[in-house]
């Protein structure tokens, strides 16, 4: 077979988790009944781990993966692919000998010499390099070269980006909820956010839905239409779809 590059698009958790929940938060690792694990971010999208190596730069195991119903998973729009955690490893592609370090936001920086590589990742630097499949190279951007070792300290870079949200440029001032069909309802159905977070609801269903809670209320939202509200007080807020009042959900606001 002479086409294309390696395809590794699924991740297999070591053990299948038992409980299925409709409650998760930005930053949760989620999966459906299938093996693929996604990162649920503040923009309401699920981000794909293109392969296991990428996953293990961020997490040591699959212990925190939450299983959600399949129809909830498919309601969430797909985001871009997750890239390597900055500082963790160096990368290259098989058909190019250039070695790169990873900076925040999937930025690749060419390491200019073996001396620098040795300073950054010590004598065993060659073991700290992963091959990125050609087809995932497009998930990265290429930035400036690292011309001296002082420009890039792997430990500092790693400490500076501890979550995928940070890497993607999100912070906890926003969160997002998708509205599915009458079977799925609000996704996630229960979410915990910090006081001062702006929540955006987006209707992913072809039929209209609305958001009605105490102190906040949207118009009827057609497909792909959004409504947002900033939660400035602590408490649990139940809300419903005004068009299909049996669909309810909760937002917990904490300090």
């Amino acid at each position: 077979m002479a086409t294309g590059a390696l395809v590794a698009s699924t991740l297999m958790p070591a053990t299948a988790s038992a409980a299925v929940t409709r409650s998760f938060n930005p930053g949760s690792l989620i999966k459906g009944s299938g093996p693929t694990v996604y990162y649920y971010a503040e923009d309401g999208k699920r981000y794909v781990f293109p392969n296991e190596k990428t996953y293990f730069t961020w997490y040591e195991n699959f212990d925190t993966v939450i299983q959600i119903p399949d129809n909830m998973l498919s309601t969430l729009p797909l985001g871009k692919n997750v890239t390597y955690r900055p500082g963790k490893k160096m990368v290259k592609i098989t058909t190019d000998p250039r070695v790169y370090v990873v900076d925040r936001g999937g930025m690749l920086r060419h390491v200019d010499s073996e001396e620098i590589a040795k300073t950054l990742y010590n004598i065993n630097w060659a073991n700290q390099i992963d091959d990125v499949p050609d087809s995932f190279f497009t998930n990265y951007k290429v930035g400036n070269k690292v011309e001296s070792a002082s420009e890039y300290r792997p430990a500092d870079v790693m400490a500076g980006t501890t979550t995928i949200s940070q890497d993607k440029g999100f912070d906890d001032t926003m969160a997002a909820i998708s509205i599915g069909n009458t079977m799925t309802g609000f996704v996630p159905n229960s979410m915990t956010i910090k006081k001062g977070t702006t929540v955006t609801w987006t209707n992913q269903d072809s039929a209209s839905h609305s958001v009605i809670g105490t102190g906040f209320q949207s118009d009827a939202l057609g497909y792909n239409k959004s409504y947002n509200f900033k939660f400035n007080t602590v408490g649990s807020f139940e809300y419903k779809d005004g068009i299909n009042p049996s669909i309810t959900a909760t937002i917990h606001v904490v300090q």
């Binding site: 693929t36 797909l78 995932f136 290429v142 440029g169 702006t198 039929a207 947002n228």
Partner: protein, 470 residues
């Protein structure tokens, strides 16, 4: 064999590009000692086929692939992934049931119904659907949905995609690396744009409404400032935040059909981007004749219930009906026929009025609005009246039986049946249904009959029915 990692220097880059320039031309398929095949693009980059399915939409075999040396291949910059050739196949992702057709530049367009899929790709359309691994989904962008078969043509889409290069040109054109000078072939920071989402708490505006505008920005560098304007008036400006939100009161005179909301985002690296959103003035237009609204009882007592029915005629291919009370969507009916019914308790001081109307959306995206009816809270409710005839039409010379029923919390004093000029044809006292055999009808055309009921305190209500004489 132990792999020796090399660091490419400028000289190697120059040498390699000279070597391949002699043998390669844009549009060539290339490979080195490994199995991977690449497309050599106009920009002098190699594009990756993420999988065999993608390759097969463009080529039937591998006979034209040219082999170059590993060093030559390494000197050619990677330029991204090839997407499916438009029109050839349908695609979906494993975790989602949506089926997409492919438009130019790797744009996915959701095929809205099975019928459209059949019209475009034949009865065996479902054998032409490929699963795209989720890891490659980000190579595509989502376009508008295909709502009818004339909206998209597989053969025309395929014909337009002359080559992978012309197909990619349909996307936003990426910058071309024309110089391979003193620097190795490392393009500097890519020409990334700031991704902005701008939204408003309402889609339409009325005078004195207070609307919340929210803008959020995504960019690799930090965001320095987000400004939001409404009709060129500054709503708010937020520094050093990815999300910015502000309230703005609508003016008391709305003399334009649409108003523009604009956001300007400035990043720390001085990149700027703007995004706009148009808000329409809430329509005060005439109701559409295709849709009607009826209220069981337009005058009720506080705490009583009344039903609201919205109906569309046969000319409307109904997708959804939504019933509004005081501009709040109360009930939506999807794909469930031509009518939608909603009942609720209305409470408040005497004299309170509630406005209700229905919006009907057709499959082709047209929105129809009913007239607005008012429900009033009064000390004495009007009776609930229905009039029924067994048939919708009769033949010339036949008679038609009409039955009027009524109910009211205070008891019914009398029920009357009236002709189209409101001449009383029959009066029944008490609450029992009133029945009248009318006719024989000898003139063809539409006939209207009215039913009227009066409760014990003296409030009355009327309903009419139409039937046809053929």
């Amino acid at each position: 064999m132990k792999y020796k990692y090399l660091f490419v220097l400028a000289a190697a880059c120059l040498f390699a590009t000279q070597a391949q320039a002699a043998t390669l031309s844009p549009g060539d398929l290339i490979k080195a000692s490994g199995p991977a095949v690449y497309y050599y693009s106009q920009e002098g980059k190699r594009l990756v086929f993420p999988n065999e399915n993608t390759y097969k939409t463009w080529y039937t075999d591998f006979s034209t692939v040219k082999t170059i040396t590993d060093a030559e291949l390494a000197a050619i910059t990677m330029g991204g992934n090839v997407t499916y050739k438009p029109g050839v196949r349908l695609v979906k992702i494993v975790s989602d049931s949506k089926v997409y057709a492919i438009a130019a530049g790797g744009v996915l367009r959701h095929v809205a119904t099975e019928e459209i899929a059949r019209n475009l790709y034949g009865a065996d359309w479902n054998t032409k659907v490929d699963d795209i691994p989720v890891g490659f989904f980000s190579n595509y962008s989502i376009g508008s949905s295909i709502l009818n078969s004339t909206d998209y043509s597989p053969s025309a889409s395929t014909a337009q995609a002359v080559s992978i290069d012309t197909d990619r040109a349909a996307k936003t054109t990426p910058p071309v690396c024309t110089t391979c000078g003193s620097e190795p072939v490392t393009p500097t920071t890519t020409q990334e744009t700031i991704q902005i989402a701008l939204s408003a708490s309402q889609n339409t505006i009325k005078i004195n409404d207070v609307i919340t505008f929210t803008a959020s920005a995504q960019y690799s560098a930090s965001i320095k400032e987000i400004r939001i304007y409404f009709d060129n008036n500054l709503v708010t400006a937020c520094q050093n935040a990815n999300v910015c939100s502000g309230d703005f009161a609508m003016p008391s005179v709305l003399d334009k059909e649409t108003y523009q909301v604009k956001t300007e985002v400035t990043a720390l690296d001085t990149t700027k981007e703007t995004k706009t959103l148009d808000l329409a003035r809430a329509s005060t237009t005439e109701p559409d004749s295709e849709v009607t609204i009826s209220v069981d009882r337009e005058v009720i007592e506080p705490g009583q219930t009344t039903g609201i029915t919205v109906q569309a005629d046969e000319t409307v291919d109904v997708k959804e009906i939504i019933i509004y009370v005081d501009d709040v969507a109360k009930k939506g009916c999807n794909y469930l026929g031509r009518s939608c019914k909603w009942s609720q308790i209305f409470d408040g001081p005497l004299g309170t009025e509630f406005n209700t109307y229905g919006l009907v959306t057709s499959v082709s995206g047209v929105t129809y609005r009913t007239q607005t009816k008012t429900i009033t809270l009064a000390a004495n409710s009007i009776p609930y009246v229905t009039i029924e005839t067994g048939k919708t039409y009769i033949l010339k010379g036949e008679s038609m039986e009409a039955v009027v029923s009524a109910s009211d919390e205070d008891g019914i004093q009398s029920i009357e049946i009236l002709d189209s000029q409101k001449n009383v044809l029959k009066t029944c006292s008490g609450a029992a249904p009133c029945t009248l055999s009318t006719g024989p009808w000898v003139t063809e055309g539409m006939v209207t009959l009215w039913g009227r009921a009066t409760d014990v305190p003296g409030s009355s209500n009327e309903q009419s029915i139409q039937f046809e004489v053929r």
